[in-house]
């Protein structure tokens, strides 16, 4: 077993890992290394061959691989060590990382600081408990995306997509362009879960029917999918009797949510937030394990990669600056809480002396609301949607007005006339 050391060790070479490593190096960390289990860097972006990446950061519409390449090019001359086809098996609470690689065998890294950038995975059928048979032809939208865009295979020719998350919407268009018929996109919520632009560009432009407040209640076909039965749901997501209709198809794609991939974090004893499924963090994006930072989809699921890169730069910068001495410093901490109609806010902890950026999502789409930031100030919003992340900057100056150890973020509506 080889033992190596790094000042900043980045786990995962997707957009988050790339930006974190580059930022750490720029801020003066000497030895920076990225461990990536795939054969190439870029993470999930490598299979996202559609346009729409980098609008905020580069003011251009790039494809996923193009966006990733900008960072990979920068990396080439940076002196960062990249270990590909290297899977991290374990992170210990002493920041020792075990990873394996075909050629180098078992590697053991002793790290100054660690950045978690493992991304997320898709929710699967089991988690939804869709009744019926278990035939071939049921797969996650991301797996289908990989088959079509990387392997060069089209899973089937009549497709139903459950869930209107972005990957599902993108795949509805992709399958259509491949000559398959997308019979329906079925969404349990009363509104589309993905970005509005994807609903327009991927469904409306191709006349693909979107069934809202509906779900798949049964899968038919013993060996291969033959049809699915869908039904309307009530407000509690329970199928409404006698609204069932059966749609013949050979493929069912699931785009029903992403789950941050935190197996390594849990194993290391890092505390997770039950809502985001990502680590609890402070304003430096440090987790409950001192010296371990998190960014990108492993922290919370992002819709735009531009913000992943930005967040990761913060994590990389702070990882480079981190020393063991900091672990023992005591400071005043303000707890940030999600209030009325806010699904979550990150970071969960901020420091009164430091600038922090809050990332938050609302629980439901609304128009003309105000977001109250702990009584310190409020933001007027024309429209808010769960799929669109809201960002707010908190400065020490503003925070100095807070006379409590916690701060609640809440959505407020114009007062209704209750008759």
């Amino acid at each position: 077993m080889k033992t190596l050391s790094a000042d900043v060790l980045v786990i995962g070479g997707g957009p988050a890992g790339l930006s974190a490593a580059l930022a750490a190096k720029q801020k003066g960390a000497k030895r920076v290394a990225i461990l990536e289990r795939n054969e190439e860097l870029g993470g999930i972006l490598q299979q996202c061959i559609h346009h729409g990446f980098g609008i905020h950061r580069f003011r251009e519409e790039l494809t996923g691989p193009e966006y990733a390449q900008r960072f990979i090019d920068e990396l080439a001359s940076s002196g960062i060590d990249v270990y590909l086809e290297t899977m991290v098996l374990e992170l210990t609470d002493k920041r020792v990382v075990y990873a394996i690689n075909k050629d180098h065998g078992m590697l053991c890294f002793e790290a100054g600081a660690v950045v978690l950038a493992m991304g997320c995975r898709e929710r699967t059928r089991g988690a939804l408990r869709i009744p019926g048979h278990r035939p071939a032809g049921v797969m996650t939208a991301g797996a289908a995306q990989r088959f079509v865009n990387i392997e060069g295979y089209v899973p089937g020719q009549r497709v139903v997509i459950l869930g209107s998350g972005d990957i599902g919407l993108i795949m509805a268009r992709r399958f259509t362009l491949e000559g398959a018929a997308v019979e329906a996109v079925v969404e349990v919520l009363p509104y589309a879960a993905g970005l509005t632009r994807n609903v327009v560009q991927c469904l409306h432009d191709f006349d693909i029917p979107l069934h809202l407040s509906a779900t798949v209640v049964e899968i038919h076909g013993r060996d291969r999918v033959e049809a699915v039965t869908i039904a309307d749901v009530d407000a509690a997501w329970k199928p409404v009797p006698r609204t069932e209709r059966t749609i013949p198809c050979d493929t069912l794609l699931l785009s029903v949510g992403l789950i941050p991939e935190n197996e390594l974090s849990v194993q290391a004893g890092i505390e997770l937030d039950p809502i985001t499924n990502g680590p609890l963090i402070d304003h430096t994006l440090m987790t409950s394990l001192p010296g371990v930072f998190a960014c990108g989809n492993v922290l919370h699921v992002h819709d735009l990669v531009d913000f992943v890169s930005e967040e990761a730069e913060t994590a990389g910068t702070n990882a480079a600056a981190w020393t063991d001495a900091q672990a023992t410093q005591s400071r005043r901490i303000i707890t940030v809480k999600a209030g009325e109609s806010v699904r979550y806010v990150l970071p969960q902890y901020v420091s009164p002396e430091k600038t922090a950026k809050l990332y938050m999502r609302v629980t439901q789409p609304e128009t003309n609301v105000t977001i109250n930031i702990g009584g310190l100030f409020s933001l007027k919003q024309k429209s808010v949607r769960p799929s669109e992340m809201i960002q707010v900057k908190l400065t020490p100056k503003v925070l100095s007005r807070l006379d409590s150890d916690s701060l609640t973020v809440a959505v407020e509506r114009e007062v209704e006339n209750v008759g």
Binding site: M1, R37, E85, M87, L89, Y98, I100, N101, K102, D103, H104, G105, M106, C108, R121, E122, T124, R125, G126, A127, R129, P131, G132, H133, R134, P135, A136, G137, M139, T140, G142, A143, R146, F147, V148, E151, G152, Y153, V154, P155, G156, Q157, E178, G179, A180, A181, V217, E218, R222, D223, R224, D250, E263, V266
Partner: protein, 491 residues
Amino acid sequence: MVKQIQTDVVIIGGGVIGTLAARELSRYKLDVWLVEKDAEVGWGATKANSGIVHAGFHDKPGSEKAKYCVEGNALYPELCDELDVSFEQNGILMVARSPEEIPVLEQYRAQGQKNGVPGLRIVYQDELRELEPNLSASTTAALLAPTGGTVAPFELAAAAMENAVDNGVQLLAESPVEAIQREDDGFIVMTPNGNLKTRFIVNAAGLHSDTIARLFNDTSFTITPRKGEEYLFDKSIRVVNHTIFPVPNAVSKGILVIPTSEGNVMIGPTGDNVDARDDMTTTQDGFKRIFDSVHELVPSLSPSGIITQFAGVRAASDRGDFVIDYSPVSKQIVHLAGIESPGLTAAPAIALQCAALLKEAGLDLVPDPTFCGRRRPVVRFHRLPRTEQAALIEHNPSFGKIVCRCETVTEAEIVDAIQRGARTIDGVKFRVRAGAGRCQGGFCQPLVMQILSRELGIPLTAVTKRGGGSEQVLYQAKELVGRQTRENIIS
């Protein structure tokens, strides 16, 4: 395609019953063929059950079920050691949910003792809490059966088949038996892939064993399909140490909480008579019944931890017991039929009885000195210490490539599974657990498919989930472009 083979014994059906019978017969100098309709063995009731090695206190003294269950249980530790199969003797607790049920525990203890179950005793309050801290507070006592265990049932059937084949048994897969013809001194067993002329037949066709019997005009028993649904939790959820049973009701052993031999918790099964023998569907109603019942035992279990579900169908005979006997039509036909629960447990003992029945009917059992009952050990990478993992990668670099990240399964293990007989995505999954974890193959399935395609020398579009008709990707990129528009014009 086999034309016409001459053999001593044909075993029809490769469930745990057929495969263990095959392995038992491979101890002797015999020509044995096992004929299975599916692409691989073990896909009937054997892959979709609770995986419990019962202790043997549930069944009535004097029944075939009680006898073979207790005998089979005793054979498990050594069998699983020889075949290198996951098996845990974690013990069974049958729990009283109210003080009124305590006398019932006494009855089952007495029944178990009659059946010859060792070590049965009743545990109360404090000891019960210590054994199972997560049990509902309303549970006051339990019958503890220390010989109860859990096994990976599919792994057992696959391992038994592999060991049987290593000892000379021939496997004819994807070959449903469609007709059986009587000959002077035996039978011709007919399949679409060729016919086998044989002196003896072992009918281990599970749900279809009565259909097989009808092929030689034997109407001595009838099978009724009875479905059971099961729900599996994420490995991070560990709520019980023993397998937890409620006190049974009139029709079934009830809904259980099972810590599987592979480290998950599973709940189930239901027991519903169904019309179709291949009804492996799960239902909303089944889920509800299971969950409501389990909630009484372990209140902390929440549906959000469920990662997958499945259903299996029991082959219940109209005799209300196993049918382990000669066919009334001929002593050269042995039925191992109607093997519902506790059939998995009973299987090793039934295999011995199968050999004994064949011997009595005139089959010469001459021990084969080359027989080796020990299967080549399986490497389970994720269970090894880091230093051993490091040594493995050095020896074979494909241990350095993790394919299934949830269960930490390496490429080397998948290739090995294929060399041992896996032909399909499910075959790989059941053997080495690639795709059996929390992401259910979302990440690794394309990789597993590539390895199957490469190792078997077949295109990706021919890789199936579980045999012909279950291909997972149907077309090459661009194959559909143009075709669809034509269809649109027609419609």
